[in-house]
Amino acid sequence: MEVNNMNREQIIEILSEVKDPEIPVLTISDLGILRAVEYADDLIQIQITPTYSGCPAMEIIQEDIRAELAKHGLNNVEIKQVLSPAWTSDWMSETGKLKLEAYGIAAPATHACFLSGEDRPKSCPLCHSENIEMISRFGSTSCKALYRCLDCREPFDYFKCH
């Protein structure tokens, strides 16, 4: 493929194919961790931000970004990790939240809820009952907590607001 024919929008489109390795229904743009893309003189400069400081997925995401761009013949890529402004779950797209719920993970409440301590899912992503309780503040990854539904009795992950 002719590299020079690509424009920034097409590159962003390619990047939006890159999935979060832990939650493969979400792309990095759904998650809001893709912060900036610049394309000039054949150099692609990308800024990404971690959801949590120690998120081990960041390394894989960088590799996946490079691999996805390489498929299109784009190899001159610089990826920079930025910390400020700090990621918030408010940056997750509405589509992203719907995809999460459909995948069985409750979508995050707002950042305001995080600050006020009202950090909890609205309802069970499986049966939509609001009769739920927390099992653990921490779940299978840094960004999730563990809940259970008291009606359908199923445990489920909650993507914490942050």
């Binding site: 400081s53 120690g54 910390l83 400020s84 503040r137 299978s140 840094s142």
Partner: protein
Amino acid sequence: MDLHSNYIIHLADNALILGHRNSEWTGHGPILEQDIALSNIALDLIGQARNFYQLAASRINELEPGEIITEDDLAYLRDGNEFRNFILVEQPNGDWAKTILRQFYFSSFQLMQFRELLKSQNVELAAISEKSIKETRYHVKWSSEWVIRLGDGTSESHLRMLNAQQDLYPYIDELFIPSDFDYEAESSGAGILPEKLKDEWFQRINSTFETATLPMISEEKKAMHILSGKNGVHSEHLGFLLAEMQFLQRAYPGCAW
């Protein structure tokens, strides 16, 4: 090494050493969910440490050109007397109560410290704090809930909390005793004197102890300050911890996978 680099390394070392201690619980937690909780907190802390070490390494490389040092050199190739962490965070895990209380003490301190560092003249330090403070807020919440649950729990869990209070008492003072790098941070606007957090910290801790039906702790000095982690004079426990944590890089320098 200049004082400001030492200040950053102090922040990094606290996070790394407590992160490592927490990781010792992985696979040994009392129940699966709490095993996962401590492993997650370990991950957050080691991630924070990594950001601080990267910042320190780039500063050191800038100030002392020559051999390039990396975040890994700082974490894995320094000896005990070069570590600047609090004695509190290197204390052995003990039982669940002691681990919880150590976390509650440290996270409460860290939360206040990060809040102040948001205003740091060192913009990178402010950025790391902005990132980390959200994680720390969650650590405080989790650990304070456990303090209450154990303190106001059974007679056994209450007793364990009393023992934990006794065990960790001698290491509280150090949190608020300034080191030369704290004075430098204060005067350059990069950080604050820890002493300024003292009253707020005791209030925060004691208000949770009250809810947990545990005795309050006072600011009275109880310890003789022979040890000073911030100045590299550590308890014997750090050496054993480093022997485990640094083994691979010491035995196989540069090893990567």
